[in-house]
Amino acid sequence: MRLIALTATLATTLLPVLAHADAAEDALEARHGYMKMLALNMGTLSGMAKGEIAYDEAAASKAGSNIEALSGYAVADLFIEGTAMGEVDDSEALPAIWENPDQFAQKFAALSEAAAGAGEAVKGGQENVAPALQKLGGTCKDCHDDFRKK
């Protein structure tokens, strides 16, 4: 009886802890994947803007649309409590994210705004890529400045 009670107690107290740690790691992993996806598409646009990749309207438009779609993702779920720098390994998220949630949300809203219509904006020629890229990249920088480890 005692053993069962003990096991039950342990299970009820420990499980949430374990589940919590998992949730944090999952969120971190998903977040890094999310950033990586943004980076891949940004990389395509940046390569074309610099002329390192030959301009291809369809590929550029796909990258722009991908960024537009990604920017619509509800990222709050990827920045759950307990995933700041120092709380989980490899996290570069500054505590400021959770201290100024409104400001953080604004920075992401700025990305969505910049990304709106990106798939169309990069069509029509190589010269259209750089302006769209700069608009997007500026919002990356703005958020990294305040909310990512330097």
Partner: protein, 196 residues
């Protein structure tokens, strides 16, 4: 030239090129700090001013070897004993009449050049992962270093701000405490000096 302090004479310590360098550097560095901290997210202008600052630093390095006497590193960088000696009478309420940089001011000038050199190097290496503001040397140093360089560049900016603060405080200290104007010589070139 009659009313000068005893034994001091008025000479042209700072040559025109050096004065031009000084004021250009001051303007560009301040502008670039402001652009870096409050400027647009697409930092094209910050980059260009950075390149101009690098050109000025290269000039100063060359001038430190081939320029006129007061501009030369070999002339103004002094040993520990000269620095300590200057330190012992730093707080005397009289002008230093230094022929250019005094031994302690020389350390400050050198520190500023090194700090700005650091800013140049870390800036060129920086990759803030925004696909826009990427330093031209970021590709050559590896992505981890390029990313870390952004942090080094921010830290360096704070160091430069501290050095500017010290520089201004020293000028005020010489003006108020030691009754020596260091600003006018950097504008006109002429300064009251003693010795040498």
């Amino acid at each position: 030239m009659s009313a000068g302090p005893e034994h001091a004479r008025r000479v042209r310590v700072w040559d025109p090129a050096l004065r031009m360098f000084h004021w250009s550097l001051a303007a560009l560095v301040i502008a670039n700090i402001l652009l870096g901290k409050f400027g647009p997210n697409v930092m094209t202008l910050h980059f260009w001013l950075g390149y101009a600052i690098i050109a000025l630093l290269v000039f100063r390095l060359v001038w430190g070897f081939i320029g006129p006497e007061p501009a030369r590193f070999g002339s103004f960088l002094r040993g520990p004993s000269a620095i300590a000696d200057y330190g012992t009478h730093l707080f005397r309420r009289q002008p230093s009449h230094s022929h250019g940089h005094n031994p302690i001011g020389a350390i400050s000038a050198l520190a500023m050049l090194i700090a700005l050199g650091w800013q140049a190097v870390t800036g060129l290496m920086s990759d803030p992962e925004d696909f826009v503001n990427i330093g031209p040397l970021a590709d050559n140093v590896g992505s981890a270093t390029a990313k870390a360089a952004v942090g080094w560049h921010h830290a360096g900016a704070n160091l430069v701000l501290i050095l500017i603060g010290l520089h201004l405080a020293a000028i005020l200290f010489y003006r108020v405490w030691k009754n020596e104007d260091l600003i006018r010589p950097m504008i006109t070139g002429w300064k009251w000096v003693r010795g040498r």
